[in-house]
Every structure is written in C-alpha cells, then in structure tokens.
C-alpha cells in the first residue's frame, strides 16, 4: 500500500488536522468530538449538517464554509459516523433557525442519523432530514437498500447552502434541497478497486480490460462488469441511464457534474467531460453548468461518476451564488 499516511487508525484525524492547518480561515476541527465546523460560525440562519464514511473527500469535509455546510461529522473510512458525532455536529451548528440533516441513503448513515435524532428528541432538538438517493444503478423498489446517495449530495449541499445563506427559513431550505434530490440522478463507472488503509491491498481484483458499471462510493464492486471502453462510449454508458431515468424536458438546461473517484487525474475527467457534453447536446439537452473534478471519491479508486441536475432559474441562481469552502469556491 502506497499512501501518505501514518497509522491507518489515525487517517481521518490526521487528514482533518491537515485540512484545518491549510484552511484555518475556513474550517475548524474539533478533535474531541471529531467534527468539522466553519471557522466563523454563522448566526441566525438555517444550519446544514452532513456526515458519512470518510474516504470520499472532499465530500463532505471539503464543503464546510460560507454558502455550504455548517458542520460535518466524518465517520471512519467508509463507515457512517456514530450518533455521538452527529449530535455534537448538530448542536455546534444550530444557530437558532433550525437544522437540516443531509443524509445519503446508505443503511448505516440512515440508521445512525436516526438514532441520533431519537436521542436528541429527548432534549427537544429537532432536525429535518433530507434524504439523498440519486443513484440510478439500483431499481427504486424494495429489493435493495434503495438508491444510494451519491453526487447529488454535493449539489444539495451547495444549493441548499446558498438558500440558507440568503436567509430562507427551514421549510424553504428543506423544500429546495428536496427539489434538488428530485431533479438529480447519478451513474458511475469504476476502473479499479480502491485500497483502504486498514486492509492495505485492493478490495477486489479486476482484469486490465474490465470496468465496473454501477458502482457507488466506499469501494464496493459494481453491478455489472463489462469490457473497458473508449471514453466516447463510456460517456454514453454514463449519460444514457441518467437521462433515461431523469427524463429532462427536451432542450432542458442541465448542470453536469463529472466526479472522479480519487485516483483519476483531472485531465482524463475533462477529456471524458468533452465526450459527455457532446453526447448530451446530441440528445438535445443544454449543459449550461459544469463541475469537473474529484468531488465524491473512494480513496484512490479510478473511475468517474456522472450526476445531472435539471436546472430551473432559481436552482441556477443558487448554484451561482458565492461559496467559499476548501473544495468549491467562487464569487468570494
């Protein structure tokens, strides 16, 4: 295993220490509670809290700051946080105007946020849950744990974050967040397995001429193993399931996020984005906003995830609103 780490048990804490050291004006790391907060807590606005297994950085820790999240509770690698962290993050973020929990639809994350909310209910603290489930890999029936929350999480955090920042009330922030969920879908392809610090070797083995369709985060294998294909074909394999499920109106304006999984260089992502954008245009859509980079990752896995959001004017304006976090920054 070739990683810049010290003790595998300390990777999350060591990462957060470095993040705070690099961006002291943006984030503060509360080591005792293992939560990450804005360096300057916001006042009087709806608070946004998220958290999930670590190893998916910059999700969520890279999105703490003005215009996005207020607090994040990162779990162990690929393991959702424990209720104690969720409670600490919620308490720290609460600025008196209500708290939104942005929860990715993974069994562990849903259950731990659920337990935390049950515990907090004793103290009269309430948080609204926005469940993100944008992965089109899984049919939306009861034969699985349900659609995973993937790339749409970033869009929810950014757009709901902008709504909260401009002063929208709790109900409105929640409604906007749910609208993003309703209008966004994701599909992913993996080229390699990731290597967790704990195990020190790839989680699974894949031949040199194979790729996995329908992976998620946390380095689980995908639903279908298929032959490796040129970028042009991968672009179609990613875009078609998303479009066919989302069914945007003809000519719809789209926000297109193409995220690497951590080990794919940005230059390859941009190359792939070019093929995605041209395929979207061929299918009659208008990709008016693009976000390309390693945004929702699985450690060092190679691969890419395509998330598409059908925009409207309000969502576009909230997307364009200023943001200042480690991983997303514009307008300030």
């Amino acid at each position: 295993m070739k990683k810049f780490i010290n003790d595998p048990r300390d990777v999350v804490t060591d990462y957060l220490t470095g993040l705070e050291a690099a961006h002291p004006g943006v984030v503060r790391f509360d080591r005792d509670s293992r939560i990450l907060l804005r360096a300057q807590p916001a006042r009087g606005k709806v608070a946004l809290v998220a958290g999930g297994g670590s190893g998916c950085e910059p999700l969520h820790t890279g999105f703490v700051g003005r215009g996005m999240l207020d607090a994040v509770c990162p779990g162990a690698i690929f393991t959702s946080p424990v209720p104690r962290q969720i409670i600490a993050a919620t308490r720290a973020a609460d600025a008196g105007a209500g708290v939104v929990h942005i929860v990715k639809n993974f069994t562990g994350e849903v259950m731990n946020f659920g337990i935390a909310q049950e515990i907090m209910a004793f103290d009269g603290i309430r948080a609204e849950t926005v469940l993100v489930n944008d992965d089109v890999t899984v049919p939306d029936d009861d034969d699985s744990a349900g659609r995973r929350g993937l790339g749409a999480t970033v869009l929810v955090e950014k757009i709901a974050g902008a709504a909260a920042e401009r002063g929208d009330d709790l109900a409105r922030v929640v409604a906007i967040a749910r609208q993003v969920v309703a209008r966004a879908r994701t599909f992913s392809v993996g080229l390699t397995s990731c290597t967790t610090p704990e195990r020190g070797r790839p989680t699974y083995v894949m031949a040199a001429d194979e790729m996995d369709l329908g992976i998620g985060i946390s380095g689980s294998p995908g639903r279908d193993r298929v032959p490796l294909a040129p970028a042009r074909d991968v672009a179609r394999m990613l875009a078609d399931p998303v479009l066919d499920d989302l069914r945007p109106a003809p000519g719809a304006q789209l926000l297109v996020m193409l995220s690497g999984l951590g080990g794919t260089p940005e230059s390859e992502l941009y190359l792939l984005y070019g093929d995605v954008a041209s395929h979207l245009r061929d299918r009659g859509f208008d990709p008016v906003r693009a976000l390309v980079g390693n945004l929702v990752t699985s450690l060092d896995q190679q691969g890419a995830a395509l998330t598409i959001l059908a925009l409207d004017d309000e969502l576009t304006a909230l997307w364009d609103a200023p943001v200042h976090t480690q991983a997303l920054r514009w307008g300030m």
Partner: protein, 214 residues
C-alpha cells in the same frame, strides 16, 4: 448452570470480543466480496471498546451490562453494524430489565427474540435478505425450541450456536436485499454475509459460557 450471571455474561462478551479480534480480517474479506471490506474493522472497533468497558462491569446487573454494551457499540462502531449491534444489545437489555440479578433461560429466549425484532425494526430486513437477521432469527428460534423441548440452558445455547452458524452459511446462496451488498444485485450471491458471520461468532461465544471451562 441454570441462569446467566453477570460473570457469565462478561465471559460471554469477552469471548465474543476475542473471536471478533481473531476473525477480523476474515470478516472484512467477506465484506470485500460484495460490500466495502470494513465489517471486521468496524466490529473490532466496537468489541475492543466493549472489552475495556467489561473491566468495570463486574458489579452491575446483567441488564445494565447489556445496556452499556449496546451504548458502546453504538458509540464506537458506526456504519450499519454499529446501529444494528447496538440495537441488538439494547433490545436484549430492555427484555432483561434493570432489576434481574441473573438471566433466566426463558428471559433469554425473549431477549433473543427482541434482538431479532430489533434488527427488523431498524433495518427493515426480512428473513432471506442476506443479513445479520439470517443468523439471528434461526438462533433465537432454535434456542426457544430447545428450551420448550426441555433442553438444558447449555444445550439450548449450543442449539442456538449451531443454528446461527448454519444460518450464516446459508446466506452464501442468498441474493442480498439489504445493506451495501444489495447494490451489486446477483453478484451478491456466492459468499457468506459478513454480519451473519459475526452474529454466528456471538452465539458461539454464548455457547461457550455453558460449556465446561477448558
């Protein structure tokens, strides 16, 4: 041995912790086949904390030990198994209650059934979904069945352990419908569910408390 004392329970939980430590890599390897390769590490994080907690638990009643075990699991594991193992122990604690000085065999039957129900409540798992439940439910059922047949507590615990082991083994043929393995569809068929495997370790540790000391 006719009831389970605090000392028995502590030995049982310590034995579970030991078994998890020994099987850690194996459990993660099972998880690697269809999930995210962390079940061994997750559970070990919990059982290491559990073992530390047990050091001070000697003076408490069994229900309190179970409750603290549940809280430790919830507080240290995270992921699905943190919530689910936490629920298992908290439900058992509730079934045993704070007052009991020892766990009577019938009380344990209720506690095990409550634990299985807890998994269903939390995770909406049904039998056959390839989860912890597929070891837990057969174990609870076998235990209750053995008792009603007039078996001794140690014999009933052995029956539970056997049923848990068989239940875990049977998950290999199942298609996952809950948890991370459910995302890979048919590719989930072929390996044992890691959570079911770890539940089998729990029942193996319970059976050990009824066995003569080595």
């Amino acid at each position: 041995m006719e009831t389970i004392s605090t000392a028995d329970l502590i030995r049982c939980l310590a034995g579970f912790a030991q078994r998890v430590a020994d099987a850690r890599d194996e459990l993660s390897a099972l998880d690697a086949a269809t999930g995210d390769a962390d079940h061994g590490a997750n559970l070990a994080r919990g059982t290491i904390a559990l073992a530390a907690m047990l050091a001070d638990a000697g003076g408490q009643r069994p229900g309190e030990v179970l409750r603290q075990a549940g809280l430790v699991m919830v507080d240290t594991i995270g992921g699905s198994s943190g919530a689910l193992y936490g629920t298992v122990f908290l439900r058992m604690a509730a079934a045993v209650g704070p007052q009991a000085r020892a766990i009577a065999p019938e009380m344990l039957a209720q506690a095990l059934q409550a634990a299985a129900q807890g998994i269903t409540d939390r995770g909406r798992a049904r039998p056959g979904d390839k989860t912890m439940l597929d070891a837990m439910q057969p174990a609870a059922t076998a235990y209750a069945g053995a008792l009603s047949q007039g078996d001794s507590l140690p014999a009933a615990l052995r029956a539970a352990a056997d049923a848990a082991a068989q239940g875990a083994a049977a998950t290999a043929a199942m298609r996952a419908r809950r948890g991370k393995s459910s995302y890979v569809g048919d590719r989930s068929i072929g390996t044992v569910d890691p959570g079911a495997a770890s539940v089998a370790l729990l029942f193996a540790a319970m059976a050990q408390i009824g066995a003569p000391a080595p």
